[in-house]
Amino acid sequence: MKHLNELTITEARELLDSGDVSSVALTEACLGQIQSLDGALHAFLEVWLDEALEEAKRSDERRARGLRQGEFDGIPIAVKDNMLVQGRRCSAGSKILENYVGVNDATVIAKLKAQGAVFLGRTNMDEFAMGSSTENSAYGPTKHPRDPERVPGGSSGGSAVAVAANMCLAALGSDTGGSIRQPASLCGVVGFKPTYGRVSRSGLIAMASSLDQIGPLTKCVDDTARLFEAIQGKDPLDQTTADVEPFRSQDIRLSGRQDLKGVRVGLPRQAWGEGMTDDVRTRVTAAVGVLKSLGAEIVDVDLPYADEALAVYYVLMPCEVSANLARFDGMRYGLRDSGGTLLETYLRSRASGFGREVRRRVLLGTYALSHGYYDAYYRQAKRVQTLIQNAYAAAFEHVDTLVSPTSPSTAFRIGEKADDPLAMYLEDIFTVGVNVSGLPAVSVPVGDAAGFPVGMHLTGRAFDEATLLRVARAYEVAVGIKQVNK
């Protein structure tokens, strides 16, 4: 018998609906696990203990009267520290927002509140979601659940650890270049970035607005489908949200088909070159073998310009960062470090409020956008982005999903890449292409290498998350979900 905090959303939903388990019991189990482990792991920046228990109690009372609010009524989840919850602190892992309190709910939070979800607390992250290890948090690093000497990945490292260590049933993260999928891979959980335009970013503290997307980190693909279904949808507060046919998680659950006959899986040559460890290659190749055994057809595909995606990302993203972070000037909210003059106050507030990685990216973006360099950097990157988008479109004429590893290696040691920005950036080499092209992608655990989890990265067609998650689910069912939790 699993402990209550180890349940999936799907399992908990059944037990709540049958009355066998209360939301208070589920929430207490998660809070207990946080209390036992978070001193060592530091997944949470703040735990909303009293509020969570109150929400759980209200959920129990509601459901006792037959008034279930939605699929998430009574389900305890964790939230990355860059999504606003009204009246709660939200720092984006930065000193500059240390005491900032959310004025309204992010749309994803409002949607989950309307469905009765219980919010356990806010999870640690790289400052402003800039990083691949959660070492860039102004509040100290999050530790890998299997080895406190190692990183959990990032930037949604706190959310990944909270899920992997059963401190919650599921968590929300955000993904600009791999920030959901890479930590999910390193921690051995499922991490999903929906198609750009599926999920509203209203109330998400922006990093690079043309790339940012919110998504779930969960213990299994079914839970990812459920959480994605709950947070999707067109939103007047985010003009980039698309008016498309909603995703329905039951289409995946009830498809009845576990085989993958007729599904074409593409292996991009550009992704399967030198840039991964032997362990990772072996594990992901074995997982591709499972897809094949389920009836999928495996084909090599050419994805030209895919290896330029990281360079495109490291031009476009800093440009948007430099613009988006201009608002943190110490005037209306956030840290103000007063100097003699207004200029001095700006200089001091932003120097003492921003950490090294944030400053680096702001400077990089300022440079790439400055007179004389704009054409060479920004415009050229936007043109290469077109080439990359076209390459994905061409590949998806022949295949239904593209498969690669999620990360080139397993969890690395804290400090190992801290002084080499480029080495850290290369962590995103397999994940960043889908942000640049706007496509959906999921990382699913495919077992361990030398004791640390490896993830398989599946990319799908725009707004066809159903096919993508069906393939991921078929894999998971075929191998059993057990490896995810232990």
Partner: protein, 101 residues
């Protein structure tokens, strides 16, 4: 396109980030590394290629240009987020030098 210390100092000023000499030196080195990497894009032939359009869904619709009022809790939260305040007013440093008498 090599960066000089003066370039980095000018960028930091433009970005309104006050950096010490030591931090400028480190930023120079780190920026050079990243720029060295992204310079690979210069080798890609993009003749006749359009810049990527905003994602297809962007700007597909407009909402009504109407004021969405915030509730009193929201208003109080906005006030409490002010770094400095006097009653309900936001206090900011003077923008101009003190006027001559």
């Amino acid at each position: 396109m090599p960066l000089t210390r003066e370039d980095v100092s000018a960028l930091a000023h433009l970005a309104r980030i006050g950096l010490s000499d030591e931090e400028l030196a480190r930023a120079e080195k780190e920026l050079e590394g990243v720029l060295g990497y992204v310079d690979r894009l210069q080798k890609v032939n993009t003749t006749g290629v359009e810049e990527a359009a905003p994602p297809a869904v962007a700007a597909a619709s407009f909402r009504e240009d109407a004021v969405i009022a915030c509730d009193e809790v929201g208003r109080q939260t906005i006030l409490s987020n002010f770094p400095a305040r006097q009653d309900d007013l936001l206090k900011v440093p003077a923008i101009f030098e003190a006027p001559k008498r």
